[in-house]
Amino acid sequence: MAAEPIIDVQHLEHTYMKGTPFVHQALTGVSITVYSGECVAIIGHTGSGKSTLVQHFNGLILPQKGKVIVDGADLSDKKTDMKGLRQKVGLVFQDPESQIFESLVGDEIAYGPFKMGWPIKDVRDAVKGAMEMAGLPFDAMKDRPTAALSGGQKRKVALAGVLALKPKILVLDEPTAGLDPRSGMELLGRLKTLNEQEHLTIVFISHHLEEVAYLADRIYVLDHGKNIGEGSPATLFSNKKMLEKYRIGTPETVDILYRLQDAGFSVNVAHYGIAEVASQICSILEHGPRRDRYDTV
């Protein structure tokens, strides 16, 4: 992992509807750093400010207080080139298929590149590349009507529409929400490939801890507009107090380990994969209880 920060957010605050009775402070001082090539998950329950935070990354919301630096550009600086920034940071919203408006797949994906004013040949190459990254065969799909696609395919088209701008950073707001589990798994697999093979920096919001565990190198936990925890999935899932206090929930496998721990068995919560849990249980059964009472007071 390259140790170069590509997104640097310091003490960021944001208040909606300032000066009205409905004033609402969504961010109360977030500081997070994303390094180039990383895959970072942002979790926290509804209303914790996750969406507000990520909309700062491509300048849809400008910092009111605090600092946001994306790939060297300071977003508080009025001279920052927004168009360039939005090309560099691809933001995929929740239910992105709702933004599809062209009647043909190819045109839909080419919308962004055309708006950037690229020559037609580059547009074509960009669309082709994006479709392949999103798992849509170019020749078979580019002239298909968008109306006839399945839910999973529509989401891929929307993703390709963002990838076509060749972003360095991909930001996704609940990428698998509303998809059936199969399509969701496939999409996660694509994202993992993009991160590992195309070296795309990925930041994503998720409620789904299994998904976070699968994809993320590092997790930030947000609560009431503040980051209150950070770490690898293993360190975070080992922090039972935090999971409970901030209503984050626990993946089922972690939950089993906690229950065993509560019963006095010595288990390692950092090893929460299904096979790992099974083998931990087997070793308890095979080698006797090995209750470690000092471990769980």
């Binding site: 509303g178 199969r182 089922e252 939950d255 089993i256 019963a263 068995f265 308890i284 059964l285």
Partner: protein, 300 residues
């Protein structure tokens, strides 16, 4: 193991009771637009749902599970076969009102089920339709909102609610009509972990109060809560039974692109290495309990 209060889980009782919903050889085809070839969405489904039962219907995308659930209150009528609700055929148009009063239904997107501009008016909407006397409405609205955990929201506008609260409002709007059965068509699929947990709590409470629940879901941990799981594939019922039996057939389910709860997979894996470990476990509580049981026996 798990104590279920629902009467229907006791097999003896089931024989004597009349089914609330009965599907008899139901086949269904969507009408194609311009004579394109039509694939049957449902194929000779036979199914009984009993009062107070908690049933989960699972299956991959396009397996027909949503289509089936829409037959239970006459939104769709079978192309062949019949669906009976409390003795009434859903094909009888004049009975549709009665049928829908018996079988309430909640869908995926809560925003598109809320009609009124305040929470209480929305719950009242269904009551007005079935001509509940105005004097009785207040009490029914109260009760429904309390069950759905929304009592403090009565005068709120729906757009001030969270997604999870909106979905509970949709449920309140249905249960105020006092149906015998609540059908949930992927009602939790758009909710976050917390919202889903709250919603499941409401559903469990309703079931404990005697309401039959039919839930169509992608979430196996949700299906594990039911008395009976029905697996649909290509429009046919391919497997049904209590969750612990169904989720043991992991290879069979995986062939049909269905997962099983992580607890069941772990139980299966442990069982392979330690045969004394029960393979038919469905949640984390049971897995931990089984480890305790075996260790406890070993210590004796």
């Amino acid at each position: 193991m798990r104590a279920k209060s629902s009467l229907a889980s006791m097999g003896v009782d089931r024989m004597e009771r009349q089914p609330l919903i009965r599907a008899e050889d139901v086949s269904f085809q969507y009408k194609g637009d311009l004579g394109e070839k039509v694939i049957p969405a449902l194929n000779q489904i036979r199914l009984d749902i009993y009062p107070g039962e908690y049933v989960a219907i699972i299956g991959r995308n396009g397996s027909g599970k949503s289509t089936l659930s829409k037959h239970f209150n006459g939104i769709l009528q079978p192309s062949r076969g019949d669906v009976w609700v409390d003795g009434w055929n859903t094909k009888e148009k004049s009975r549709l009102q009665e049928i829908r009063k018996k079988v309430g239904m909640v869908f995926q997107n809560p925003d598109n089920q809320i009609i009124a501009t305040t929470v209480e008016d929305d719950v009242a909407f269904g009551l007005e339709n079935i001509q509940v006397p105005p004097e009785e409405m207040d009490e029914r609205i109260d009760a429904a909102l309390r069950l759905a955990g929304l009592s403090s929201m009565r005068r709120r506008a729906p757009y001030h609610l969270s997604e999870g609260q909106k979905q509970r409002l949709a449920i309140a709007g249905v249960i105020a009509m006092r149906p015998a059965c609540l059908v949930l068509d992927e009602a939790t699929s758009r909710l976050d972990t917390y919202g889903r947990r709250e919603l499941l709590r409401v559903i469990r409470r309703l079931n404990e109060g005697g309401m039959a629940i039919v839930t169509v879901t992608h979430h196996m941990s949700e299906a594990a809560e039911a008395d009976r799981v029905i697996v649909l594939d290509e429009g046919s019922i391919v497997l049904q039974g209590p969750p612990r039996e169904v989720f043991q057939k992991q290879a069979f389910l995986q062939e049909r692109q269905l997962d099983v709860p992580a607890a069941s997979r772990i139980a299966g894996m442990v069982h392979e290495r330690c045969p004394s470990f029960r393979p038919d476990l469905i949640d984390s509580d049971e897995v931990a309990g089984e480890v305790r049981r075996l260790i406890g026996e070993g210590e004796k």
